[in-house]
């Protein structure tokens, strides 16, 4: 047993607070929007230049001028605003976004994150990921705990090229939750996924961590 994608998204949603401005990455992070508690006001930023992302449009109502950073068609809300890419990343770099939730390939115990390139494979580019992890106040990574091959992804040091050095505050995997002190370094295991034992997660984690369940 372990957490599903939906479970991980639901866990990540616990990081939201009323009034937060949040940037969600592609994949599991996108699902977090479905778990915003009723009555909580969370504004979603899309780094291509929008605050206040609304739901997908109804069939037949897609607007070519209104897409999110994943290039999907979206809609606007009453409180939405649009701005340029430089204004959008000024907002991100300037520390005005409360929370960024994004996917990862590898996370290290010092808070390093790799999620943009695998040497030898075609590199698509980092897009806005480096800016988000460097600028957003709190960075949450959601990813599978291991490769499909079983190789660990929660490491002492990343061996893939970094997206950011010492940038991750919280790591949510299908096996559990780790807090990371990105200033001093050091991981603390704070939750186990349903049906996952401490032995299992320890066996599947290369990084050192303190158990703080």
């Amino acid at each position: 047993m372990a957490w599903t994608r939906e479970d991980m998204a639901a866990r990540a949603a616990l990081e939201l607070q009323d009034g937060f401005y949040v940037n969600l990455g592609i994949g599991i992070p996108t699902l977090v929007a479905n778990y915003i508690p009723d009555g909580m006001s969370v504004t979603l930023q899309s780094e291509n230049g929008m605050l206040g992302m609304g739901p997908f449009p109804f069939e037949g109502e897609a607007d070519a001028d209104l897409i999110n950073a994943g290039k999907q068609t979206i809609t606007e809300l009453a409180q939405s605003s649009y701005f340029s890419s430089s204004d959008s990343f000024a907002m991100i770099r300037g520390g005005h976004i409360n929370l960024s939730i994004l996917g990862g390939m590898q996370v290290a115990e010092n808070g390093d994150l790799a999620n943009w390139m695998v040497p030898g494979k075609m590199v698509k580019g980092m897009g806005g990921a480096m800016d988000l992890v460097a600028g957003v106040r709190r960075v949450v990574v959601v990813m599978d705990h291991c490769e499909k091959t079983g190789a660990p992804k929660v490491l002492k040091r990343c061996n893939l090229p970094l997206t950011g050095a010492g940038v991750v505050d919280l790591l949510i995997t299908d096996l559990g939750v780790f807090e990371i002190d990105r200033k001093v370094g050091g991981m603390r295991l704070t939750a186990l996924a349903t049906g996952v034992s401490l032995d299992e997660i320890t066996a599947k984690t290369e990084a050192d961590f303190i158990v703080a369940l």
């Binding site: 969600l24 996108t30 929007a33 479905n34 915003i36 009723d38 979603l44 899309s46 780094e47 291509n48 230049g49 929008m50 992302m53 609304g54 739901p55 997908f56 449009p57 109804f58 069939e59 037949g60 897609a62 607007d63 070519a64 001028d65 209104l66 897409i67 999110n68 994943g70 290039k71 999907q72 068609t73 979206i74 649009y82 701005f83 340029s84 890419s85 430089s86 959008s88 990343f89 000024a90 991100i92 770099r93 390093d112 075609m122 590199v123 698509k124 580019g125 980092m126 897009g127 990921a129 480096m130 800016d131 460097a134 600028g135 090229p161 970094l162 997206t163 950011g164 050095a165 010492g166």
Partner: protein, 242 residues
């Protein structure tokens, strides 16, 4: 009187193109791209282009058509994952590629247009992006120095524009267009609606006309969508935020 309005994309680009030039092209994905001007550049056959654009279109549309015709020598982008031909040309060594983090790219262009030759950012510190660049500590944090970026020509898409070159963009089609309009030695714009001066509210203008050298009403806007994502009519909207 200096006349900024031109009859069509070919006329608007006449005399501005040369082999080996650097061109900035607005847009994010296929959203807000100057599709008429890109088509005219393909027809003009100008070669060995260095193109600054967040992405490189898709196979057969947007900047992708300049890849097909082999007119692009180098791309400066943040993400090129939508384009198979791109991958092929890159892997075969026919195409150079410089990746910039999206926010660094946007800010480099903004700086280029604003007379700022260099600035410091936290983005990319400790990654491949900062290799060979100056790292400097300010108030306890490390930053990397990035340079301003200018181009010989910027090609821009706006929603509305007037005869003076004042521009208004629509929704997320704004993206890189406003900064690029400031960072080209020449700036050519295509708009969906070309209007008379006085028809745009001066408080709503995103790009003042001073940045625009030539402007056309685009002949045809296909405005393709890469990923049409919709929801059925019976979905409760509150839980469908993206």
């Amino acid at each position: 009187m200096v006349q900024k309005v031109h009859a069509d994309a070919d006329a608007a680009l006449a005399g501005l193109l040369f082999d080996g030039m650097t061109v900035m092209a607005g847009g994010f994905g296929l959203c807000g791209i100057p599709e008429n001007l890109i088509a005219a550049m393909r027809l003009a056959g100008v070669r060995d282009l260095t193109v600054v654009s967040n992405n490189c279109g898709i196979d057969g549309f947007g900047l992708g058509i300049l890849l097909e015709s082999g007119q692009i020598k180098k791309m400066i982008s943040s993400y090129v994952g939508e384009n198979k031909l791109f991958e092929k040309l890159y892997l075969s060594g026919e195409l150079e590629l410089e990746f910039n983090p999206q926010g660094t790219l946007a800010e480099r262009i903004r700086a280029g247009g604003a007379g700022i030759p260099a600035f410091f950012t936290k983005t990319g510190v400790g990654t491949l992006v900062s290799e060979g660049k100056e790292i400097r500590n300010f108030d306890g944090d490390d930053y990397v120095m990035e340079r301003g970026l200018v181009a010989d020509l910027s090609i821009i898409k706006a929603w509305k524009g007037d005869h003076e070159g004042n521009l208004i963009y629509r929704k997320t089609a704004r993206n890189f267009n406003p900064m690029m309009a400031t960072a080209g030695k020449a700036c050519v714009v295509e708009v969906e609606h070309l209007v008379e001066p006085g028809q745009l509210d001066p408080d709503h203008i995103h790009t003042p006309g001073i940045y625009v050298d030539r402007i056309i009403a685009g002949a045809r806007f296909e405005k393709r969508i890469e990923r049409v994502t919709t929801r059925p009519r019976d979905t409760a909207p509150a839980k469908d935020a993206v």
